[in-house]
């Protein structure tokens, strides 16, 4: 395995690999430019090159790696979970709840998706499996009132974390986005600090539209952090690199499967190596 001078063809290959990881053409071009600037014409092995790419990416991701911590006073810490349809919100809530339980925090869930068929049943099944209380209302009911009930119940019972499920919504649906604003308002009335966290759940199989999701949800719902799901497949989630550059929002965790244990802390170096294709 010989070394070769870093030339345009090799850089083209690097750029293509980054695009295949969903970085998008501009972020991929920026990383290419950085590599070129630092090392063009120098001798480098393939392995060293990949490591160098991983390092460029890790530098971008390290500052945004930040777990959710339960620090709210007074309790409960209210965590609102939002995102487009099918991204993995409800499953992620179950995983998060389980995670907090393992750290000895008490958790309550609120079934704020009153719209999708059997969404309440889905969250209730998870609540039963992990043994957390759940606040639920009728199908078709007002999500804001469920959230209101949730905060009151969690406060009364001294619960550490209240995690609120919401219906999936595409970010270009004005009315549905307004509903999120309403939920936020209702929460704020009970506790000006709430929601303490607004977690946007992104699907790793989504491409560049994830950036538009972050932009709009951030503006309307005040996203405070991201979780990316479905990284157990072949999608590499490179859009997180572009997201970190553009928005700088904390990335809390990643989902790597459908079971309760399949949530991992966001490890920027590991994710960078996966994106860069370092074995």
């Amino acid at each position: 395995v010989g070394t070769a001078k870093l030339d345009d063809t090799t850089l083209d290959d690097v750029e293509d690999a980054l695009i295949l990881s969903d970085l998008g053409p501009s972020a991929a071009a920026r990383i290419r430019a950085k590599l070129s600037e630092k090392r063009f014409g120098l001798n480098i092995t393939e392995q060293e090159l990949k490591e160098a790419v991983a390092e460029e990416i890790a530098e971008i991701l390290r500052p945004v790696a930040k777990p959710i911590e339960i620090v709210a006073f007074p309790r409960p810490q209210v965590i609102l979970v939002i995102g487009v349809n099918g991204s993995g919100k409800t499953t992620t809530i179950a995983k998060l709840a389980h995670w907090f339980q393992e750290d000895d925090y008490s958790v309550m869930l609120a079934a704020g998706d009153t719209f999708r068929a059997a969404a309440i049943g889905q969250l209730a099944t998870w609540a039963e499996r992990i043994g957390t209380p759940i606040i639920r209302g009728p199908e078709g009911g007002d999500p804001a009132s469920i959230v209101f009930d949730g905060v009151k119940a969690a406060t009364a019972q001294g619960i550490d974390a209240l995690i609120v499920d919401t219906a999936g919504r595409l970010q270009n649906k004005r009315e549905l986005m307004d509903e999120l604003e309403k939920i936020r308002r209702v929460l704020g009335r009970l506790n000006p600090e709430a929601p303490h966290d607004v977690v946007l759940v992104l699907d790793a199989t989504n491409g560049q539209n994830a950036l538009s999701q972050i932009e709009t949800f951030k503006e309307v719902a005040g996203v405070t952090g991201l979780i990316m799901t479905k990284l157990d497949g072949t999608a590499r989630g490179g859009v997180l690199v572009a997201a970190a550059e553009q928005f700088g929002l904390p990335i809390h965790a990643i989902g790597v499967g459908e079971t309760i244990d399949d949530l991992r802390p966001f490890d920027p170096d590991l994710v960078a190596r996966v994106i860069a294709g370092v074995a």
Partner: protein, 298 residues
């Protein structure tokens, strides 16, 4: 965030105005812009490469170089080729011509919209084909998945196979086919659990279900927000089951939807429907021209 292709090409060609004839290199520069536009629209890179090669060849051969509005010429060639690759002008519907119960099997990644699309199709089959449909959920993985399909069945007034707790997918499929025969059902829709193409156990299960239910239609349900992974997904599902078409969901979003091109190109199967909302009548025939315009940001 995105510039339209007209803007991009305008930029390329503006600088050339007044310089007389364009050169081949100018077309190549334009194609670089087309490439970026397609990648921003999430067309998969290998598909972009093929597409650019085909279009470059046409553009260089054509009268683009001599035309007064080369930008418009290039866009027209790109757009025509895109429509062609998306399936041309025809729209392809369901093939229900077989001995009943005709089985339609829905497959795809987790959360792509299979269950919702199953109910949309059942409604469509009754209303547009005048046939009697039944739905069965084979999803024993996701909590309340079978309940979800049952609720949707009630909403559209379509029979669903009664839920038997603990029964496994292949057995449910067998029971569904029997039940459909007994009840003189015309079309049986099988909703399956979401699965990653790298999950060998679940892919094998899907094959087994396909083998015992002999579906007339196997529809791959794909999220129009899908990125570069589209190629992997399309390839793996094509390799495992006899796909007959694709349903592209969430077309009511603002994604450019480049996955449509990748899907069509890699599976070689028609995109039969577009999902355009969460409501059960939000299902449309797939229109290549509209989607081509959308991918190009026109």
């Amino acid at each position: 965030m995105f510039d339209s292709l007209s803007d991009r090409l305008g930029g390329v060609f503006d600088g050339l105005r007044g310089r007389g004839a364009l050169r081949e290199q100018d077309v190549r520069d334009a194609m670089r812009e087309v490439r970026i536009a397609l990648l921003e629209a999430d067309v998969a890179l290998p598909v972009v490469r093929r597409f650019i090669d085909a279009v470059t060849e046409r553009a260089i051969g054509a009268d683009v170089l001599k035309s007064v509005t080369p930008g418009q010429q290039v866009i027209k060639i790109v757009s025509d080729e895109l429509v062609e690759m998306l399936g041309g002008e025809e729209t392809v519907g369901l093939d229900l011509e077989a001995k009943p119960p005709v089985v339609i099997m829905m497959v795809g990644l987790q959360g792509s919209g299979k269950t919702t699309s199953t109910a949309k199709l059942a409604k469509f089959i009754r209303e547009k084909h005048g046939k009697k449909a039944m739905m069965a959920s084979l999803d024993v993985n996701r909590p309340a998945a079978q309940e979800q399909l049952k609720v949707l069945g009630e909403q559209i007034d379509c029979l669903t196979l009664p839920i038997v707790q603990g029964q496994q997918p292949v057995d449910i499929a067998r029971r569904a086919v029997e039940s459909a025969k007994l009840q003189a059902i015309d079309v049986l829709l099988l909703d399956t659990a979401g699965r990653l193409h790298v999950d060998e156990a679940l892919m094998a299960e899907m094959k087994a279900v396909s083998a015992i239910s002999a579906p007339q239609e196997v529809l791959l349900v794909v999220d129009s927000l899908t990125g570069q992974d589209a190629v992997n997904v399309a390839k793996s599902f094509t390799d495992e089951v006899p796909l007959t078409g694709v349903i592209l969901t969430r077309m009511d979003g603002d994604a450019r939807g480049g996955a449509a091109l990748s899907m069509r190109h890699v599976t070689g199967k028609p995109i039969k429907f577009a999902g355009t909302g969460e409501k059960l009548d939000a299902l449309e025939a797939f229109h290549p021209k509209r989607v081509a315009d959308r991918i190009l940001g026109m």
